[in-house]
């Protein structure tokens, strides 16, 4: 049972990075995954055209939480144009696990990307 549940995933689930909310974010969105009840809230802070701070909050499974941790870290230092170009493959590459045969888990992994897209829409 450890194909997906590698140690670093569990570790990020227990101790997430960039977890929390921020006062007056420049971009903000909340998304839900209706199949599992996961909820992620993403907040972004921008300064001089680049992302200087990212936070996520909410509850979810280990995959969505780990993905959100890695994803928020990944967003820092990027411009709005760069954010707009981020695609699925980049998010999955951050996770380093193969979800190609788990379409339902794929949704969990991509939840923070959904939140990003919604926030900058």
């Amino acid at each position: 049972m450890d194909d997906i549940y590698q140690e670093f995933i569990i570790e990020l689930y227990k101790n997430p990075m960039n977890f929390g909310r921020m006062a007056k974010p420049d971009y903000h969105a909340e998304v839900h995954n209706s199949t599992c009840g996961d909820r992620i809230e993403l907040s972004l802070k921008m300064k001089s055209g680049i992302i200087v701070d990212v936070k996520f909050a909410g509850s979810g499974c280990a995959i969505s939480q780990a993905s959100s941790s890695l994803f928020t870290e990944y967003l820092k230092g990027k411009t709005l144009d760069q954010l707009k170009k981020i695609d699925k493959q980049e998010v999955l590459a951050l996770l380093k696990i193969d979800l190609s045969k788990n379409p339902s888990r794929m949704k969990c992994a991509l939840l923070p990307l959904d939140a990003l897209k919604k926030s900058i829409k």
């Binding site: 049972m1 450890d2 194909d3 997906i4 549940y5 569990i10 689930y13 227990k14 199949t35 599992c36 009840g37 996961d38 909820r39 509850s59 979810g60 499974c61 280990a62 995959i63 788990n102 888990r105 969990c108």
Partner: protein, 401 residues
């Protein structure tokens, strides 16, 4: 009990280490049912109620025979009271559209419970909104039992009371006989969602005295795509069809039309005849096992499961602790582990359970939970399936510890 049943289900031959604990979502199908569908398509395929040639006449006869079988299975007075739909959801929507649309007026009260599946909640929510009626939701106690005081208070002067026999999340068996009586005293009609009960325990619509009962074939060994709506003849007569065309019409002129008789009034269009044939075989199969025996078997397994669960730290069970108050399912949560992760890790051991809100968000909200994991049993499960579940759950807890 039922020690030799697994061999009837080809999925367990094809996937020998499959631990299937998700029958509340859908049941596996026995070879007998699969064969009946294949036989229909190979040897009997024809549309019903039209052709005058042999296979068409046979198809019509076989289709109607299944209706009579289902009538006996739930002890309806007449086969006119058995309507074939697509699933429980479409059956419940049929009541909302057919009866509700005609009889619910502004300020009327519709009563449901907080434990209902969305299929027995959303249609009423929608109807209430459309008609400017009030949807009132009966609460449960912390054990998951319907709060009888709250129920009695809320059904006063109501028009429709709708509830499930067995909750698909709490597993609790509701005393529908008594609750329907209380509803009737108030002049309400009583709609029962039997999706989780009809496959697993004896059902007698005359004893329950419900006005409508909805259930699905696919949860009781039959193919997908066939649902059943039982309705008291008098109420079905008063209900209007809501899908038009084809068989539901008796006479059409350029200016007007006349509805067909029951049950055809509610069966427009060509149905899934093969699924109905399969349903007939499924009813035969279940009848041989005996619905009382199935209920006992499930309660034995759930009792066994609950006992083992009580020995696991950090595992919380929803619903009654006593398996005698339950149908064949248990929803639970593990401290600090998301239900999605539990189900996914179990899946890696070939154990099939369901995670999420099980299409019943109000009851999860009631207990302050986003999601739970649900294990459910049926005729083909044995104690060893439960043992495997427990072992894997211990592993899950270890990984997350």
């Amino acid at each position: 009990m039922f020690n030799n049943i697994k061999k009837d289900f080809p999925i367990f031959l094809n996937i020998p280490d499959l631990v299937y604990l998700d029958s509340a979502a859908t049941s596996q199908k026995p070879q007998q049912v699969i064969d009946s569908v294949t036989k229909f398509y190979s040897k009997e395929n024809a549309n019903i109620a039209r052709g005058l040639y042999k296979i068409a006449e046979d198809a019509t006869m076989n289709y109607e025979q299944v209706r009579s079988k289902v009538q006996k299975f739930v002890n309806a007075k007449s086969s006119n009271e058995i309507i074939f739909t697509q699933n429980t959801t479409s059956s419940l929507n049929a009541v909302m559209r057919g009866w509700g649309e005609n009889f619910v007026k502004k300020h009327d009260k519709i009563v449901t419970t907080v434990m209902e599946h969305h299929s027995n909640f959303v249609p009423w929510q929608f109807l209430a909104k459309r008609k400017q009626a009030n949807l009132v939701v009966v609460d449960v106690d912390d054990d998951g039992q319907i709060d009888l005081g709250d129920f009695e208070k809320k059904v006063k002067d109501s028009k429709i009371v709708t509830l499930s026999t067995v909750s698909n999340v709490l597993g609790v068996i509701n005393n529908v006989n008594k609750l329907c009586d209380i509803a009737h005293e108030q002049g309400a009609i009583c709609v029962v969602d039997g999706a989780q009960s009809v496959p697993s325990m004896p059902t007698d619509v005359q004893k329950i005295n419900c006005d409508f009962l909805a259930f699905s074939g696919h949860k009781m060994l039959a193919p997908f795509g066939i649902g059943i709506l039982y309705g008291k003849e008098e109420l079905l007569e008063k209900s209007d069809p809501f899908v038009y065309g084809s068989q539901m019409i008796r006479k059409v002129t350029q200016k007007e039309n006349e509805w067909n008789d029951l049950p055809y009034k509610f069966e427009p269009g060509t149905p899934d005849i093969s699924a109905v044939i399969g349903l007939g075989k499924a009813v035969d199969y279940l009848s041989v096992l005996g619905m009382d025996n199935i209920h006992k078997h499930e309660q034995m397994l759930i009792g066994y499961l609950l006992k083992q669960f009580s020995e696991l730290d950090g595992l919380n069970v929803l619903g009654p602790e006593n398996s005698k108050q339950r149908g064949g399912l248990v929803s639970f949560s593990l401290d600090k582990i998301h239900s999605h992760d539990v189900a996914a890790m179990l899946a890696e051991d070939n154990i099939c359970v369901r995670s999420g809100h099980h299409c019943a968000m109000p009851i999860h909200e009631r207990f302050g939970l986003a999601a739970t994991t649900r294990a459910s049993v049926y005729v083909y499960n044995q104690k060893e399936d439960i043992d495997k579940l427990i072992n894997s759950l211990k592993q899950v807890q270890k990984v997350f510890s």
